[in-house]
Symmetry: C2
Subunit: 211 residues, 2 copies
DNA sequence: CCGTGTGAAATTCTTCACAGCT
DNA sequence: AGCTGTGAAGAATTTCACACGG
């Protein structure tokens, strides 16, 4: 229902949703921006402003209905759907991704997997058949996926991203340590623990309590 | 050697370093901000501005010496040192972290690992002995680490972060799906593929090429 | 001429502060 | 009395544009 929502805002919404899920599980019915912000180390004003991009979900004087806001956020983010996910590259990391229950629990269902190695292709992991890389396009045409997780070596990653984008995949979560390029309309996000650590060490150089 | 460098800037430096590493390996001697920006989808002005926080590394009319700039960035980020890393939580993900060569290749050496399960504690993975959780404090006192990777279940994560911080660990890379709190002076970064995916689905709701 | 380094302008994002509803 | 929703102020970040050096 709208657009030019800042990307930073969209990126915070899943955190709000997760905190609300926890509050709901703890039996909380109502939460203020103050309280929610405390959990997440985000200012109350930030939360209210973020939510205001999408509508008015709170009750003045009371706060937000936990279940109600959670449901709204899930709808906004598209978490009330089932998403089909494929994994490309079934090495150690790819296997861990395939076997991680946290994705399915949030509606991300692994429906296909691909690997270049003959040793791996043909196996079945958590009920997902691992196919050879050259079956990628045919498989995507037959059974489309919404999101691809790329866990191939760096040298192969850009080509995989190109093939996935050409095959109609609209979101790619890339674990390979490259800055992947993708055509417009394809959302790419990077997961890169080494780069994240490298930014942390900048702060460790300082003798002690930096800041 | 200075301060209040914006965090966004620090977070981009490892990407510059990585691109330079690749260029150096490809035999490139000199690179312009234009070219480097092309690789990374960052504007040339952004790169020049970022670097200008730390000094003047380029040559007008030519660009940057690839090796020279890389060395400077590595020094700025502290990548010219060896960092001691421990892993807390040796489940599937923790094992993958212990066994991933990408960390050691960048100077992040796994020197200790901890797990609450008796089935895992006592084993040795890639030369790293897995200790019981209650040995954490004693181990850190005996052999300090600079950085901890937290790969325990969500319910245990905050307590682990507290104990690590109390034990003198100054940087924590948290894979558990919680917003971890840490005392000032302790740098915490989050790796959360589910949250990342959840932000991507926001863009997938739109019928097609959404921007 | 080409490309850096950088003030200044433009833009984006966050915080303030308060009117208004409950 | 408490807390949302939101314009407006303020801060942070990015981009512009150009003087200057190679």
């Amino acid at each position: 229902m709208s657009d030019d929502i800042p990307e930073v805002v969209v990126n915070r919404l899943p955190l709000y949703a997760r905190a609300l899920t926890r509050l709901a599980a703890a039996g909380e019915r109502v939460v203020s921006s103050q309280r929610l912000g405390g959990e997440l180390e985000v200012t109350p004003a930030q939360i209210r402003k973020d939510l205001s991009y999408f509508g008015r979900f709170g009750t003045q004087g009371r706060g937000y209905d936990v279940d109600g806001l959670l449901e709204r956020l899930r709808a906004i983010l598209g978490l009330d759907r089932r998403w089909r996910v494929c994994v490309v590259g079934v090495g150690r990391l790819g296997q861990a991704v395939l076997e991680y229950e946290g994705f399915a629990r949030q509606g991300f269902h692994m429906t296909a997997a691909f690997d270049a190695s003959a040793a791996v292709a043909g196996r079945t992991i958590r009920g997902v058949a691992v196919r050879a890389m050259d079956e990628l396009e045919a498989s995507l045409a037959r059974e489309p996926v919404d999101i691809a997780v790329v866990t191939v070596p760096a040298a192969a990653a850009q080509e995989v991203v190109d093939r996935l984008a050409a095959g109609g995949v609209r979101a790619i979560l890339n674990y390979a340590p490259i800055s992947a390029h993708a055509p417009p309309g394809v959302v790419v996000r990077q997961i890169d623990p080494v780069v994240t650590m490298q930014a942390m060490t900048y702060h460790l150089k300082a003798p002690d309590g930096d800041r």
